[in-house]
């Protein structure tokens, strides 16, 4: 019997019916009378080039062409950082990474294949496409840099005036005067270690592959307002950014968030909004839709930071972790976007285990590939792929059971796991490991698969993981929410929080209903309207339940407080003596003394004076509760993931058998949504480890910008998924809930890698772990 009436219930998702009938409106489903269609002319031939000349003479005479926007037509708009990094962090922190605003709407310096050259507006999508074909661009090809080594040569073409050696970002410097992020004496630790492992891992470039391609509509209307329809993850930062780029006050910019067809970080910050708005500003009064093709989506929105993770770890013979020394060099792609991933990767690595000494450094270099930035997991999958494989190597050598090692050495309650003075207040790591090992039958399988021979061999792998519940204390965490009580005792929650499809809007509605004591159907969440909604940084960093959940809860608690105060005045008692249940407010000791909530709210709004007494029956006024929330804790969900795989020793082909995933969610506000995110995370996480990478040819041109050549796990490739949600006590999160979004992807990465290496007897340090690499390693070992 749950203590909650709405929270934790498996209610249908608030958006399920609209989506299952096809009636949910995504950006491309919206048609506005008078609509025109924009296309962005992109450079497909080169990954690095200067634009010498754009000849539009033929294109401008093509049927239906309304407007062609050249770089000079948009050069008056300030450059910007598409990742909106500058809005996540304080001015002091911003100062450490320097000027980020390097992105322009249309460029004459092509930094990656697909960079935007100019724009065309036409009466139909097809006419716009045909006109694009008639644009003639003369390019001067520049040397193509596909590695950090090439990009940082002294004579390399600079990508950014403020970034010497094409280094987009470097961890130490101002934040860490000692020159690195960490603690202790790592060199001494490594000297004193009995076992030292030194390895360089390559972590691949993964694409979000959200199913809805990017699509935008913009209209500069007759009230001089710039209206934008976008499925951005962060409508409020986009609202402010567009207002600054186009020199309009925020009241003159309206962001309408459309239903989001998947995001996974790919809609973080600005993507196609500036170009679409520039077209709208050039053709006032006409709505303009810019619908990306899949191949455009592939090259023009950010992907996961790939790179080389150099890792040295020292242990005592008994497994005591004494030293961790890592350096992550990432290939940034053409633009800065979220170069800070390289830093966050180190923070999240540190959060895991009690190493006695710790040192982390990292840097991002501009290269001529599509930009890399936010992708579910934000640096954590990369570090996990490296660290968990070396832990497995140590366990194999020492004979220590990996589950026991993780049980013993994970960080715990009271520890400042991120290194910024914020100790965690809860930790379910042990419970997750225990539950997972039991459900997966770890010990039995470990014994059974210990000494296999034959062609097909089974193997098991596991990992322990931890991810943040929000961006605090590194990034801005702020959400403002209000709840307005209607005169019929229903409520409208007003909060800008996004639902990327994960069920956030359902869970937030549940939190509000629970707090107000209302049935779920009496609560409506108004989101995605930048005029109505107050500030919220947006959906990222697994923060929605943690921060927006608590903001909405605070707003609803404020409303309940106002209800009780109003009723107390009427009943002439102390609010402390009152209780509300089923929309009735009564005196605890004397339930006969009761006020009907609907009656009180009605008479607060339709407030007629008694003609004889000249008194209002209830205090006049509509109740609006407010929550203005910033968290001062970040208690993460710990998760343990176990994978069983089979490898064919003759071909290197693998098959996934089982995946047991235990997540210490604290409290699953909407359990199907949490399960669904973990199950989807398995598809993405195992994909990252085993199949997914964007490949480029020697000229920096993408070789697999489609769903045939870029292999994601299909329904038949998936292992059996066994999901367990743990609900260990959580003192801070709303109703005990923690963040769930990103962890789903991270666990399966290393667990799958370890299962493959356990089966095949070889460890593959270069992701993705394809059959070819496995076979090569098996053959090399056999030699």
């Amino acid at each position: 019997m749950s203590e909650f009436s709405v929270v934790g219930k498996r209610v249908p998702k608030v958006d399920a019916r609209a989506k299952v009938t096809g009636r949910a409106l995504y950006a491309d489903d919206i048609y506005i009378p008078g609509m025109l269609y924009g296309r962005i002319v992109r450079c497909w031939e080169y990954a690095h080039a200067k634009v010498k000349k754009i000849d539009v003479s033929e294109a401008k005479n093509m049927p239906g062409v309304v407007k062609i926007l050249l770089p000079e037509d948009t050069s008056g708009y300030p450059s910007y950082n598409s990742g909106t990094m500058d809005m996540f962090a304080s001015d002091e922190l911003n100062a450490t990474w320097g000027e980020l605003g390097e992105q322009v709407i249309f460029t004459d310096h092509v930094k990656h294949q697909g960079d935007a050259i100019c724009g065309i507006v036409a009466k139909s999508e097809e006419q716009a496409e045909r006109a694009v074909e008639k644009i003639r661009v003369d390019y001067e090809p520049l040397p193509v840099y596909l590695t950090a080594e090439e990009s940082k040569q002294p004579d390399a073409v600079p990508f950014h005036p403020d970034k010497p050696n094409n280094m987009a970002y470097k961890v130490p410097g101002v934040i860490f005067p000692e020159g690195y992020y960490g603690y202790g004496d790592v060199d001494k630790g490594l000297d004193e270690a009995d076992l030292v492992y030194d390895e360089t891992f390559y972590v691949p470039k993964q694409k979000q592959c959200q199913m809805e391609p990017h699509c935008y509509i913009a209209l500069f209307d007759d009230k001089n307002r710039l209206n934008v329809w976008t499925s951005t993850q962060m409508p409020k930062p986009v609202h402010n950014k567009l207002s600054r780029i186009f020199g309009l006050p925020m009241t003159q910019v309206k962001v309408n968030q459309t239903v989001i067809g998947g995001a996974f970080g790919g809609r973080l910050g600005l993507v196609g909004e500036p170009a679409t708005c520039a077209m709208a500003m050039a053709v006032p009064g006409r709505p303009i839709k810019v619908n990306y093709t899949r191949e455009e989506d592939w090259v023009a929105s950010e992907s996961r930071n790939p790179g080389f993770w150099k890792l040295k770890m020292g242990f005592k013979k008994d497994g005591t972790p004494v030293a961790y020394d890592a350096n992550f060099t990432t290939l940034k792609g053409g633009y800065y976007t979220h170069a800070g991933v390289v830093f966050v990767s180190g923070i999240l690595a540190r959060a895991h285990y009690k190493f006695e000494n710790w040192r982390y450094d990292g840097a991002s270099y501009f290269t001529n590939q599509a930009p890399c930035g936010a992708f579910r997991g934000y640096g954590n999958p990369q570090q996990s792929f490296a660290m968990e494989q070396l832990i497995q190597r140590m366990c194999n050598e020492t004979g220590i059971d990996p589950v026991e090692w993780h049980m013993k050495w994970h960080r715990d309650i009271g520890e400042d796991i991120y290194g910024f003075g914020v100790p965690i207040q809860s930790c379910g790591a042990k419970e997750a490991l225990q539950k997972g090992a039991e459900a997966f039958k770890w010990k039995e399988k470990r014994k059974k698969y210990a000494n296999q021979t034959g062609v097909k061999r089974r193997g098991i792998g596991m990992m322990l993981g931890v991810h943040a519940s929000a961006g605090f204390p590194v990034l801005l965490e702020h959400t403002v929410a209000t709840v307005k009580l209607n005169e019929d005792a229903t409520a409208v929650v007003n909060c800008s929080i996004s639902d990327l499809g994960c069920g956030n809007h359902t869970a937030i509605t549940q939190i509000a209903a629970e707090t107000l004591g209302f049935p779920m159907e009496d609560v409506f969440l108004l989101a995605g309207d930048s005029d109505a909604n107050a500030f919220d940084i947006g959906a990222h960093s697994s923060r929605t339940i943690w921060t927006a959940g608590l903001a909405v809860k605070e707003a609803c608690e404020d409303a309940v407080r106002q209800i009780l105060e109003k009723a107390a005045k009427f009943l002439k008692v102390d609010p402390k003596d009152l209780e509300m249940k089923d929309k009735k407010i009564f005196v605890k000791d004397n339930p006969a003394q009761v006020v009907d909530l609907a009656d009180m709210l009605w008479k607060g709004i339709y407030a007629f004076m008694d003609p004889e007494t000249f008194q209002f029956p209830f205090e006049r006024g509509q109740i609006i509760g407010k929550g203005d929330f910033m968290p001062f804790a970040n208690n993460p969900a710990w998760y343990a993931c176990f994978v069983e795989a089979e490898v064919d020793m003759e071909t290197g082909a693998w098959k996934l058998i089982d995946c047991c995933y235990v997540n210490d969610i604290g409290k699953a506000i909407h359990p199907p949504s949490v399960e669904g995110q973990l199950e989807g995370g398995i598809q993405q996480g195992i994909g990252y480890a085993l199949t997914e990478e964007i490949y480029y040819d020697a000229n920096g041109l993408c070789l697999n910008n489609n769903f045939t050549d870029y292999k994601m796990l299909g329904p038949s490739d998936m292992p059996r998924c066994d999901i367990h949600l743990l609900e260990t006590p959580e003192p801070y999160g709303p109703y005990g809930g923690r963040g769930a979004g990103e962890g789903g992807l991270i666990g399966p990465v290393a667990a799958a890698a370890n299962a493959i290496s356990d089966a095949a007897g070889v460890q593959i340090t270069e992701g993705p772990i394809t059959p070819e690499k496995i076979l090569k390693a098996i053959k090399e070992k056999g030699r």
Binding site: A16, T21, G22, P213, G680
Partner: protein
């Protein structure tokens, strides 16, 4: 571009239209019919190259087809069923209801295609096994769910449709 007059019977409605011969069925459903009736934007464009299945609709024989790879003119005189045809008098189709019940919907963009593919599958093979469901759904990509709840939903719909048929 050359055009041709064609007649389409979409979700039980007759549409007579003049379409360019290079126009896909998907474009006609999503954008052109909107000028004559409520647009049928339930059918989604995910890739435009027949790789993701978001545009899946049913042909006259209730086989699933990819509307993004089907030229509209080739469907002249044919019946087509989209996601909009499934709900009857406010009642969801058992497949739709199962997707809602199981929480098989996250971002929802693959959902209409996934539902139509499943409807076609269950009509052809009422006893479909889990393994067959997985194999049949290979052409419909979902990036949110890992297919777990989708497969469960199709199994629930299968059982329910069989129970209904048995009555």
């Amino acid at each position: 571009m050359k055009t041709r007059f064609i007649t389409l019977y979409v979700d039980g409605e007759e549409y007579k239209l003049d379409v360019p011969v290079n126009r896909t069925l998907l474009q006609v459903l999503r954008y052109d019919l909107g000028k004559m009736a409520p647009a049928l934007t339930g059918t989604k464009l995910g890739c435009g190259t027949g790789e993701c299945g978001a545009c899946t609709v049913l042909d006259e024989d209730r086989n699933s087809i990819l509307s993004c790879l089907t030229l509209a003119v080739l469907m002249d005189g044919k019946k087509i069923s989209t996601i909009a045809s499934l709900e009857k008098d406010g009642e969801l189709h058992p497949v739709q209801q199962a997707f809602v019940d199981k929480g098989a919907i996250q971002c929802g963009y693959c959902t209409p295609g996934m539902v139509m593919k499943s409807v076609s599958l269950l009509e052809r093979n009422p006893d479909v096994t889990e393994e067959e469901i997985r194999a049949e759904l290979e052409g419909n990509i979902c990036r949110c769910t890992g297919y777990v709840k989708i497969v469960e939903a199709v199994e629930q719909a299968r059982d329910q449709m069989k129970a209904q048929a048995g009555k």
